[in-house]
Every structure is written in C-alpha cells, then in structure tokens.
Amino acid sequence: MQQHEIRRFVERYFTANGCALLEAHDDYLTVQLTAEMDKELMNRPFYWHYIERTGGVPQPMQLTLITRANERTDKLKGERLHFGAPRLHQLFRSAQKRGSFIRLYEEPNAPLNGNAALHPWLGMNVVISYECDRKKDEIVSLGIHLISGTIVESFHERLRERRLTPKIPDYCFTISPLIKPRSGIGRLEQYIESRIGADDHTWAEEARRRWADDLALLDEFYKDCEEKPECYYIEKEALEKQYKPRIIVSIVNGGLFYLLPRQP
C-alpha cells in the first residue's frame, strides 16, 4: 500500500463516518472526530463513562494523521501513518466491522417508460486462506441471482459499474426472491467448496511430505525408547499444528442487491 493510497483511504474512511476534515493536505490531515468515532478509535472508556454520568458536554478529540514526512509535518503533533502503523490497522478493522452488511437498489440511468422490475441478487466477498506452515489468501467475489440460481464471479466489479442507492428508486419495484437468502448463502458455500475442490493442491501435498519427513525423524529419535516420553507426544502434536494443511473461508462482507436485468 503506497502512502498516497493510505492518505486516500483515511480521508474516505473519516468522511464516510461523518467526521469533519479540519485540514486536508497531501501530506497530512486533521479530522474532528464525532462522539461515535471517538468511542470507536480513541480507547478512553473512562472519559465517556464520566461524561455520560455527569451529563457534561462531550469534547471528541481531533486526530492529525501524517502520511508524508517533510519539514512541515515534522513540526506537527500527529501520528505517522504507514502500512504497518497500528492506527491504520485499527481503521482497517473498523472499516470491516462497519462495512459488513449492505442492501442497495440500482437506479436506472435514463427515465423509465413505465415501471421497472429489480431482480434480487445476493453478493458475498470471501477470503479463502490456504494454510499449513505457510499461508496464502485469495479474495473471491460471488453473486447469486435469487430467482434463477445463476452464480457469477467478480460480482463486486459488476456492481461498481452501476449506480446504487440505499432507497428504492421511483417507479421501480422489487421481485421477491424465489431462493431465500439462507439457501442462497448455502448455494454459494457449495459453489466455493467445489471451486476449492477443483484447485491445484500441490501446496498441501508438499506440506504433508514435510510433515511426514519430520515425523519420521522424530520416530527415529525415540525408536529405542520402549515407552515414549511425554515430549515425544508434545512434539508430534506440534508437528501436526505446524504442517497439517487446512483451508479457511471467511466472509469479508456481502448483502442484497436489487438490480435491473441487463440487455444482452
């Protein structure tokens, strides 16, 4: 992540959460936190507890975040943001918490002749993690048409091309899903499983080979022991933890999208 990307991310994050930008420069920005964001980010529960109990006037903090060091920013009292900075990772976590569930409607580009039907879709962005003693992740964006059951990939990219709004637009109506959201998710999960099944799993075979090699060494080490000491079993368990391949699917976010059917 480049510094200018961090700068952009931070500005979008605070704007999206209703915080006023007091100063916004290429190299730093100062934001006035709202009470809600102060509670979320500044870790001062006692202050908020005190204000609420005494009925005092809350004074949310201001935050200065520096994304490029230079003569001007060196003099500022602020936090330096870079990709490893704990503050940035806090914002990442907060964004993921606040951006997990969504429901949107597509707004037609041109005025409609009469009414338009919006079709229900369920979208999900998932991270597939391949883990052994090494690790790799992949992000997959899926969408399922809750009428026909059609599943498409790169769903999020398709969404980006459309105008979406949280309220149902005028002269539009939604078609009720034939497939309920619960079973829609179920179908997507099945899709993910078969997609993973079709993957190349050399990585897992290699991990199992490393595991078997180390296990053979361990057995050799204790082969003269009639009764294996406890550390043999501890070590054996540790090897399993170290090498045993597993795949973890976690969901970043997702939601319901009511979209206009596209002309072919």
Binding site: Y13, L91, V127, S129, E138, E230, I247
Partner: protein, 554 residues
Amino acid sequence: MNIDLEMDRTWKEEFLERVEKDGPWASWEMYELALEAAHHLIVPEFDGLQAPKHLPHVTILPHQLEVARRVVEEMNGKAILADEVGLGKTIEAGLILKEYMIRGLVKKALILVPASLVSQWVRELNEKFFIPAVQQKKSYVWEQCDIVVSSIDTAKKPPHRDIIYEQPYDMIIIDEAHKLKNNKTKNYEFVQNLKKKFCLLLTATPIQNRIEEIFNLVSLLKPGHLGSAEQFANTYGKTRAVQANDHLKALVNKVMIRNRRADTPIEWSKRHVEPVLIEFTDEERELYEAVKALRHASFAGSFSLITLLREACSSREALFLTIKNMIDKCGEAVPEPLERVLEKINAVTTNSKAEKALELIRSINDKVIIFTEYRATQLYLQWFLKQHGISSVPFRGGFRRGKKDWMQELFKHHAQVFIATEAGGEGINLQFCRHVINYDLPWNPMRLEQRIGRVHRLGQTDDVYIYNFAVKQTVEEHILTLLYEKIRLFERVVGELDDILAKMNLTNLEHYLEDAIVHSRSEGEMKIKMENIIAMIELAEQLRREGGQRHAAT
C-alpha cells in the same frame, strides 16, 4: 481433495438477522472500504516476505532479509540463528515473528531471554515491530497476553511452568540459546517439553561448542535431525568439531544460519587496539613474587596458582579475598607462605594498574567501559575513581533486570565510566560508548569478543578503541604478547579464530595455556609449550587458507 475446510458461519447468522430486522445496513462507501482493507490485508503468495512492507521505518539489512526468507521458505519456521555478535539477530527474529503474525500463523508467542534483556526485547518488539509484546510480571500475563517476554529462570519455576505448558503457543523464541547445550539441565528439559510449532534459537557462539552440544541444541529444535543419541555417537563420536566433518556440517546447516561480518557488505567502523604495559611498584612486585612462591609451598587444601597470579595482577583486594578463604580453610595454624602473602598485601599501598586507568580515562575525556574479571577489583575501582572525582556505575550479571536497565541508563546519561565484571559482558548494548579498557584479559578469546561486541556492533558509527592492560613480567604479559600479539587476535575477522580453534580441537585454549604456565618446570619449557600452541594455530590457519582456495577453485 481431503483437506480440512472451515467455513465462517458467524457472518451468515448476523446477515440473516439483519434481513429479518430490515437493517441496519452499511453505506456503499463503507462497504467498499471494508473490501479494500481486506485486499490490503491478504497475503497473496506462499513465498516472499510481507513484513518489510509493514516496517518501512526499520532499516533491514540484506543479510537479515535473507535469513528471514530462508527460515520461512526453506526451514519451515524452525531454525538456529547463529550470526556473529552484532549482526542483528534480534532484528532477524523480530522480522520472522512479524512475518508469521501478518500471515496469521502465529497468534501466541513466548520469548525466553536472559533476565537482563527482557525489557530491551519488549521495547524493540513494540517500537520497531509494532508487536504488542508484554513483560511477564504477574502470573496471569501468560494467559491474557499473546506475546510474552520472560526469563527462562522465571518461566521454568512453578506455578509458571504448568501454566505455560497449558498455553497454545505458536512460536517459541529463545535468546542466548547456547546455554541449553547440556541436555541434563532443568532448563533443557523445560524447553524440550514446550510445544514448538515454530521455534527460533538465537546464539552467537555455536561452533566453539563440543559436538555433543551441537547435537543437543539441534535435537531440541528438531529431534531426529541428527539421528538418535546412539546413532549420532556411533557416526560422529570421534569427530571433535562440526567443522571437521563435511556431511555433519551440511546437516547442521539445514537448521542453522550463520552470517559472518566478513560476508556482509556492511562497512564496519575501525577497531584500534593498543596494548598498555604497566610496571609494578616494588611492593606490588614483592607481593607477586610471594604468590609465585606458593607453587613450592605444601599445605592442606588445593588451590589454583594461576587464579592467584591473575588476581595479584588485578588488585590486592581481589587476591585478599581468595587468600582469606584459603586461610579460613586451614584452621588455627596458618601456613607460613600464606602469612607472607598476607604481609605483602598489607605492604602494598598503590595500584599501578588503577593509576594507569585513571590517567587514560582523563586523557580520553569521554565515556569508557572497563572490564574486569573480579568483583573485588570492580568495587575497588569504583571507590578509586570516585576519590579522583570520576563518576562510574558498576554492572554485574547478578543484578536484577530493572537494575541492569537502570545502570545502563545511568551510564548513558550521568556517568563517565562503566565498570563491568565478566557476567556483564553479555547482551547489553553500549554502542554510545567507543572506548574499552580490558583491565584484565580473559584467556578465552570468545569471551573477549563478547566484550568488544558490546560496543563494536551494528549502529556503531565511530571507530572503536580497545586498550589491553597487562603488567610487565607477569602471566599477563605472557598472555598479551603470545596470544594477542603473535596470533594477532584483534586484527582478525570475528569468528575466524573460532573456526581455527574448532578445526584444531583447540577449543579449550584456556587449559592449554594454564598447563603451559603452571606446570612448566622452567621458563624454557613454558616458552616451548607456548610456541607449540602458536605453531598449531598457524598450521590450522594455513590449512584453512588452502581449503578456502580449493573451494574457490571448484
């Protein structure tokens, strides 16, 4: 496929609940930001390192990056990091830990280090690596904190020991791991019973160890890598040093990484080494001769003449303590020779070495570290310098953790001189100082290297000055001229002598020297023995050079 698959179900339940309740829903912008954050947080490849991207403010040297890469990609996260002193093993370990944490493969880690280094590790991990490491102070810390730094002596004791065994640690890091060379110790057993998914053992001096010690260290990390104890004894039992057997060397190198200063393209500041010869006063000379005469004395109780001689060269205080102990053991009748020594001790009024040190410290007019082998000398020096208006701080291995840090800080900001005994040589960083006085020389070259390594390490930008004290016509002069001048120890690349000694099975150099000095019946015999040692070392050096050329040619 037959690979365990875990599907996150928590999102699903909460989503369905929100569908039911018709919200609340995120804005499109927040939704996009969440996905963007995920894109930044994922690890797209099995290979390569993510950590450097997270640590733009840390200068990571190429050899440190390479170590981290090899440990993760080739050694499956289990390794002995054995770089020479001062090449940044802590940085390497931090880098590897960070990498695994970013990849989500390590959540809980236990870091065992000498007591004097605990707070330094905590500081470095937090400040350099943004790893929220915590110093173990209360027993609940083991359970509540994910990254804990502790001394091994605390950790192995109940009730800590049992609590630790219950914790699902993903990574264990042990600093100064050469202390685990003996598999009969409690420390060894403690570490052996830890669950080691990933494990790093840090040591600067693995090669000087005897071959069984290497076996023990490797077996702790990866049992069976060198075979069982019996197989190992049968195959390599006759090999004295790892270096001598190419097969064994290759095997060890699979789990151990050792960088040498010479191999790194780093520009090191220069070392200036100056021998400082000191003349005894008449009283001091008489005392020394009286101690020497003990060689022919016969009385109950064994003693080490060499120790007494070395103490006599250090300070009368150091000698007095030992002599007093010997007298106490003799009971009522104090042997006449000891009585004589005591008399001579009382006659000495000055300390020529201390005078010289004072003169030197005044002319340097900058921070100075003095190393001595004896605690009595340390106390004396502190008193002596104070008499002359020079502030100093003492440092010993026995100090508690907090006191050590405090003393280090005191020296940095308030005192001119730092007086350390041998135990103080390990694991402290004093790069802000560039003058070292070896008040008495250790006979083990590796210990000397550890001392100098305190100031001559990464981060030292100035030239370093080393002053080696030796009193004329004493054992010290023999050591200085024969070892440190003829073998040119100080001019060598660090680690080179280490190799040579290992190759010649001369790892117990100290004993050879002691034998030459104490058991020789005449000056002539001693000279010959010393020259033999030098000849052996020279031969080894020659072989090493030729070996090097042969490797270069193929």
